[in-house]
């Protein structure tokens, strides 16, 4: 049975195309895997044959490129249950923004002043402490942040969310400040190294400090791949937010590889590692020696 890298995505966007193309050029089979296409049994289970039947290949390695984070957080643990190595954003892949912020804070990564709020009243009270402007970040990773420029806006937003959406929509993180008009950049970290970046707001002057901070943030959340949003505040450079599946089509490489190439290289290396281990495991998919040599050659070329 053929072993392939699964790219978990609803559709092949520019980013997913780049990753799959780099892998194909290196001789590594990669296939898009619609994350919500199949009903999946609850763990523990060993669905390698089911996966192979559905997609025509075993999936020892899965790259998380799922835009719908609710779907991703549900299916990623099941993919891991198949024995697959999931390349993703660590805590940010399946956890919420509170878990991410807590992990960053525990690791000493600088962040804006932040308070968790679970009601309109608590939100307004928090804003008296944090001041204006501030930003509401819904707990779901990737959900759009809401800038709160003054008390009127804050009252309107929090009341609407609580009244129309219920308590689940008002629970969130309130962060001091806003990205509007700020130096704001996205740094793509792959395999522990910052590989690309792009400006998200005003022109940034971030340098080595930003690279180090982004890499520290990715390490703190255990991410193989993540987009780390950095903002310069009056207190200095901080990690504003984490994007678990960042767009990187408009990023500028920091070295000699694009973000897509870096992700593909990491996936190929994990495939080699996984299949080398899997060859001695009953449920592990493994590559034949010819394919393994081709993959190794491909990775060497890609690197």
């Amino acid at each position: 049975m053929t072993a392939a890298i699964g790219v978990l995505c609803e559709r092949k966007r520019v980013e997913e195309k780049q990753v799959i193309q780099v892998l194909a050029d290196a001789g590594v089979p990669a296939v898009p895997v619609p994350p919500a296409a199949l009903p999946l049994p609850v763990v523990p289970f060993a669905p390698a044959p089911q996966v192979a039947a559905a997609f025509g290949a075993t999936m020892p390695v899965v790259v998380d490129r799922c835009q719908d984070r609710a779907v991703a957080s549900a299916v990623l643990p099941l993919w891991q249950g198949t024995g697959a190595v999931v390349i993703g954003a660590g805590i940010a892949a399946t956890g919420n923004r509170l878990a991410v912020a807590s992990a960053l804070s525990a690791a000493g990564v600088p962040r804006p002043a932040t308070l968790l709020v679970a009601s309109e009243e608590a939100g307004l009270q928090a804003l008296e402490t944090l001041g204006y402007p501030a930003t509401l970040l819904p707990l779901t990773v990737g959900a759009a942040p809401v800038p709160l420029l003054d008390r009127d806006a804050a009252e309107a937003v929090l009341e609407h969310r609580q009244t129309l959406g219920g308590t689940c929509e008002v629970v969130g993180l309130l962060q001091a400040g806003t990205t509007i008009g700020a130096e704001h950049a996205l740094v793509i970290v792959v395999g522990g190294s910052a590989v690309a970046s792009r400006h998200m707001g005003n022109e940034t002057t971030f340098g080595p400090q930003a690279v180090a901070l982004a890499e520290a943030a990715a390490k703190a959340i255990g991410a193989d791949v993540a987009g780390i949003e950095l903002v310069r505040t009056t207190a200095g450079l901080v990690v504003w937010d984490v994007q678990p599946v960042p767009d990187f089509r408009d990023t500028v490489p920091l070295g000699d590889r694009t973000a897509g190439q870096a992700i593909a290289d990491l996936a190929a290396m994990r495939l080699i590692e996984r299949t080398a281990i899997g060859a001695s495991q009953p449920n592990g998919a493994h590559l034949g020696s010819t394919m393994r040599r081709e993959v190794t050659d491909g990775v060497a070329l890609a690197l």
């Binding site: 559709r11 092949k12 966007r13 520019v14 195309k17 809401v146 309107a156 937003v157 609407h160 969310r161 129309l164 959406g165 929509e169």
Partner: protein, 58 residues
């Protein structure tokens, strides 16, 4: 109504022939299946179609 025009999908980068379309029309990219809204026809301009959802008044 516009004449047939090539469209580049902003989601996947794929190119396809949109045919005769009108502003506001929703078309589907044949390559990635994303829904696109026609924003202009001369020249043709498309963007990702807005997803239905609650904005909580924001």
């Amino acid at each position: 109504m516009s004449t047939s025009t090539n469209v580049t999908c902003p989601e996947c980068g794929g190119e396809f022939e949109a045919g005769a379309v009108e502003v506001g029309e929703i078309i589907v990219c044949p390559e990635c299946s994303v829904e696109l809204e026609v924003l202009g026809t001369n020249p043709i301009n498309v963007g990702l179609a807005p997803e239905e959802g609650e904005d909580w008044g924001e």
